[in-house]
Symmetry: C2
Subunit: 272 residues, 2 copies
């Protein structure tokens, strides 16, 4: 999917919501456990319930890998179930040297047909570039994450140029790929910084986790983070997919996704 198609979806749905498919057998409603593939069954019902209010789905690979080959099957079926006009994110946080990164890229972009994959920047240019060789596929590079440990290394200031590590990552990465193939992960818990982070990368989409369960502020993020093509995908996982742990989980997810979408519509009208 290209940038214009993504923006088109956002405008048509009045939403920049990404639903995180962090599907955990211990948290899904008990009645699904008798299904042949409970993870896929859960995802399918969540997708059906939220698709009118969301523009992207993001399975975090850890939840699927923890289930071994069965998990990979559930993931593959989930990907096949998501309509092609919806943006898909393999939240894998991969990063390895050149030829190995190419294999990861192949796994996610070709075998599974994801639109994008999250990538960790620590190993530098040759670990990221192989992912950028695929047309209309995206790298979503970790920049300033939403967790506590983000402060450990991402905020280190460089002696040479005074930039913090995440700033250096964002500036350097823009020399590797265009805003048509490169997004950044920017945690909503950094809402107070998002205005300055936007200045570092005016054109790129940001994938913003941490709104909801982690306490980020959606209006703040939207007001200071939006660009002319919205430029935001705001992820919510637990707050939507586990809105209810009972048989009404899909309706509850729908209500919560639509509540977020309605809020997003206000910000799109106000700030876009």
């Amino acid at each position: 999917m290209n940038r214009f198609q993504l923006f088109d979806q956002i405008q048509r749905k009045n939403s920049y919501l990404c639903v995180g498919l962090d599907t955990d057998l211990e948290k899904i409603p008990q009645h699904l456990l008798s299904e042949k593939d409970p993870v896929f069954e859960f995802n399918k019902q969540i997708i059906d319930a939220t698709i009118d209010a969301s523009v992207a789905y993001k399975p975090n690979l850890a939840f699927y890998e923890a289930l071994g080959t069965k998990g990979w099957e559930s993931l593959q079926k989930t990907l096949e179930y998501i309509p092609k006009d919806i943006f898909t994110i393999a939240d894998a946080k991969r990063g390895d040297i050149g030829n190995t990164s190419s294999l990861y890229a192949k796994a996610f972009f070709e075998n599974m047909n994801f639109d994008s994959v999250t990538v960790a920047p620590y190993m530098g240019e040759d670990s990221v570039k192989p992912f950028l060789k695929f047309k209309n596929k995206w790298v979503i590079l970790l920049a300033h994450t939403s967790n506590m440990g983000a402060a450990d290394f991402q905020l280190i200031e460089s002696k040479a140029n005074g930039r913090r590590l995440y700033e250096e990552v964002m500036l350097r990465a823009q020399t590797w790929g265009s805003p048509d193939q490169l997004m950044f992960v920017v945690g909503a818990t950094q809402a107070d910084k998002i205005e300055s982070i936007r200045q570092l990368a005016p054109e790129n989409f940001f994938l913003v986790p941490g709104v909801g369960a982690q306490g980020g502020d959606l209006e703040q993020v939207s007001k200071f983070g939006m660009n002319k093509q919205c430029g935001l995908l705001v992820n919510s996982a637990r707050a939507i997919i586990y809105a209810s742990g009972e048989k009404d989980f899909a309706q509850a997810a729908k209500r919560e996704a639509e509540r977020v979408r309605d809020e997003m519509k206000i910000y799109l009208d106000k700030y876009l």
Copy 2:
């Protein structure tokens, strides 16, 4: 496996060789492709051929993920085939926030029974610590890698304390876990720096890729990198597993692994 068991293996075998199982269907001998599980068959024969000369095996997950669920099956069978007194490394370079890292840890340490997993430090303490909660399991944290792009971020010097990023990673991480559960990835292409890198972490094992195909110098690495318990696992993949592309691939791998082991024996006698 604990540190003493690992050192015991090294002494008994006169080797600190780790064989990288970067098994690629396009590179393995053609006659194996008619096997039911060519990847496992190749690994099995490589393991049989090299086990007397090596103390560890390291499958890089990318090669297996690129094959989908079949690849995970080959990987699982490979792990089950490796004897329990051999150290195993999931070269996965994972790293995510807390609860998600716990799931990756579960996937590698419990489901697959790997002894260790490589982890990327970018997201900081709470992305690494979940892996450190498993007894006699190891985190191998990326510090100074062997690829070109290592220079992009790992060498950035901190304004606050003058330390380079990889130095900060190594020092900070030692406050999270002991040398009984924490190793570092230090590329052999940094052989000229390995003496100073050793001073940063006197007790920890280093996993050293880049000897052989990537041009690192084994004597240099051994002379300046060894500590009292050897403290080195030197990885070689392509030079061993693809020593021959013909039917004699296993014998060729054996010869190459034994050649490296014989060289390592000299350095163990000389520098340990």
